[in-house]
């Protein structure tokens, strides 16, 4: 392999790594706060990409109907639960929080969609439409079994993935979409090596978002509360942190990250309703390298996955995914060698 090709593959790999970085952060966040291995992350990202594609081509995104359906379902389930508990007084708040709040982004989307929108507006709308999906789904699927074992939660997450890709087919149809790149042209990063502005945008946006994510986690009270919940659930409850509320915040953040992933990947790859699983699983490899708990190690893991994928597709395109997923084996071996103690903690929680 020549130097040029290696550089081109590296640039490509960094682009992919930036996607896995955001997805990996989302997975670690969700797992550490709620113990859910969030398989459907990629499906939500696909919704983001497809929503953007619809908005860009001047069509009303079916995401609106999807969010409305989920909100209606959630409100129904919540009301039934409240009535059975005998706490009728809480019904208006539930309707507001689970029925009306998630619909908030739908209104501007309905008013604006269909026209010729500037790019920033389509991106904002797509993000806003995707954010309610995960918390609503999670309220339906995970909330009733929040105290179940990690395995049960994982199975629920798998079911949710199939549900979401089914909904994807129902609402978006089987055809693939690819959006316009946000930036055109390329720049010579090194003599003879060019990188498209689009890929630099991907990398830059991902780094900025990851940095914001860290700052929010370290500096804000909500970030501290999320970390506290991840570290010690009982301790968090004792200082008045509501696990259900932190779970909802977590799923909103995960949804937002997934939305960004979808929007960044949409111009680079043709997205179908079922493209999500592969994204989620590769990000999962990165997150496993971080032990599903360390953000910095997850970032490194995502970098490894992105680069490996890029080089593997050059060596042997057909075996690309096999090579990436076999990274799991050394990753798990190394982890079990160095951190038996972290694993024990996880066991105890189960």
């Amino acid at each position: 392999m020549s130097w040029d090709i290696a550089m081109i593959l590296t640039v490509d790999g960094l682009g992919a790594a930036s996607i896995y970085l955001l997805a990996g952060l989302g997975l670690v966040l969700v797992f550490s706060v709620t113990r859910v291995i969030f398989v459907p992350f990629g499906d939500i990202a696909v919704f983001g990409a497809l929503t953007l594609a619809y908005l860009e081509t001047g069509r009303i995104p079916p995401t609106i109907a999807l969010v409305a359906t989920l909100a209606a379902l959630t409100v129904l389930v919540e009301i039934v639960r409240l009535i059975r508990q005998g706490t009728h007084a809480a019904i208006p708040r539930t309707v507001l929080n689970w029925g009306l709040l998630p619909l908030l982004p739908c209104l501007p989307a309905m008013l604006l969609a269909g026209g010729d929108l500037p790019t920033y507006l389509t991106v904002l709308l797509a993000l806003a439409l995707v954010v309610p999906i995960t918390p609503l789904m999670a309220r339906l699927v995970f909330h009733p079994i929040a105290d179940a074992s990690v395995l049960v939660l994982l199975i629920a997450a798998l079911v949710m993935h199939f549900l979401l890709s089914g909904l994807g087919l129902l609402f978006f149809g089987p055809e693939g979409f690819r959006t316009q790149p946000f930036l055109r042209g390329a720049i010579e990063v090194l003599p003879g090596i060019t990188a498209s502005y689009q890929i630099l945008l991907m990398i830059g946006a991902s780094l900025v978002l990851a940095a914001l994510f860290f700052v929010a986690f370290e500096r804000t009270m909500i970030g501290k509360a999320l970390r506290a919940t991840a570290l010690n659930r009982v301790g968090a409850q004792l200082v008045g942190i509501r696990p259900a509320a932190t779970a909802t915040v977590t799923f909103c953040l995960a949804s937002l990250l997934a939305g960004f992933v979808g929007i960044l990947i949409a111009p680079a790859t043709t997205m179908y309703y079922d493209s999500g699983l592969a994204i989620g699983l590769k990000a999962f490899v990165g997150a496993i390298i971080g032990g599903l708990s360390s953000y910095p190690l997850t970032a490194l893991g995502s970098l490894a996955v992105g680069l490996l994928e890029s080089f593997a597709s050059f060596w042997n395109g057909a075996m690309k995914d096999v090579i990436v997923f076999s990274l799991l084996i050394p990753a798990l071996l190394v982890r079990s060698h160095f951190s038996t103690h972290a694993e024990d903690d996880a066991e105890e929680e189960v």
């Binding site: 501290k224 509360a225 009982v234 301790g235 942190i241």
Partner: protein, 238 residues
């Protein structure tokens, strides 16, 4: 005068086995009440049920209102606070962050939050010296101070302490109990569970002796201390 915290005929069990069998107890405003008894008497179970970590049958009134149906966070928001036997600190976070989170339920303004933290630092200068240190690297005594400090950050109306002297040197025990005693001046009522019966009765106004899940004896602390016969038979003497 109605009690601030009133427990009536409380039953708490782990599955089929009941660990607390019909305990009734009262705590008045500004009072320190101690609950003493041998290992396995159900003291920790009782406190866990009061804060809502364990489900229970019976009545728990806080400020005259039943709180038995509320979740832990809702009880904490009303001013009930537990420092559990296991402390439950946020190990990987700094001393300062642990304290800041202590006030989470009250969502004070930034300046109020920092003022409360400084107040805790004044009370526990040792924590102030270690404000950046991770909680899981603190010594046992420092951890206990942090647990107590974190609880004080929420300005609780009722503070429940489960064995605050557990594993501490006599000098620090005295210091901790002195602080408990001082809390009364801040209008905090304290429910104190202690293995160290004499020390607990010395700082409290009223005492309950718990034995195999039932109140075997209760009365003003001074009387419990002086009734040597009872003291010896229930607590194995001192």
């Amino acid at each position: 005068m109605t009690a601030l915290l009133e427990i009536k005929d409380l039953h708490v069990g782990y599955g089929q086995v009941e660990a607390v069998l019909g305990v009734s107890l009262e705590l008045e405003k500004g009072q320190i009440v101690s609950v003493i008894g041998p290992n396995g008497a159900g003291k920790t179970t009782l406190l866990s049920a009061c804060i809502g970590l364990l489900p229970s049958r019976g009545t728990i009134l806080f400020d005259g209102e039943p709180i038995g149906g509320l979740g832990v966070e809702a009880r904490v928001a009303r001013g009930l606070c537990l420092v559990p036997e296991s402390r439950e600190l946020f190990g990987e976070m700094s001393v300062s962050d642990n304290l800041l989170l202590g006030a989470y339920s009250k969502r004070p303004t930034r300046s109020e939050l920092l003022a409360r933290r400084d107040h805790v630092y004044e009370r526990f200068p040792r924590l102030a010296e270690r404000r950046r240190q991770r909680a899981d690297t603190l010594s046992g005594g420092e951890r206990q101070m942090l647990a107590l400090g974190r609880a004080l950050m929420s300005k609780p109306r009722v503070l429940m302490l489960d064995e605050p002297s557990l594993g501490l040197a006599p000098l620090i025990v005295e210091e901790i109990l002195r602080i408990v005693h001082d809390l009364r001046q801040d209008g905090v009522s304290v429910l104190l569970v202690e293995q160290n019966a004499l020390a607990a009765l010395n700082v409290s106004d009223y005492g309950y002796v718990l034995e195999t899940g039932e109140v075997a004896l209760h009365g003003p602390s001074a009387e419990l201390i002086s009734e040597e016969r009872i003291f010896a038979s229930y607590l194995g003497g001192v």
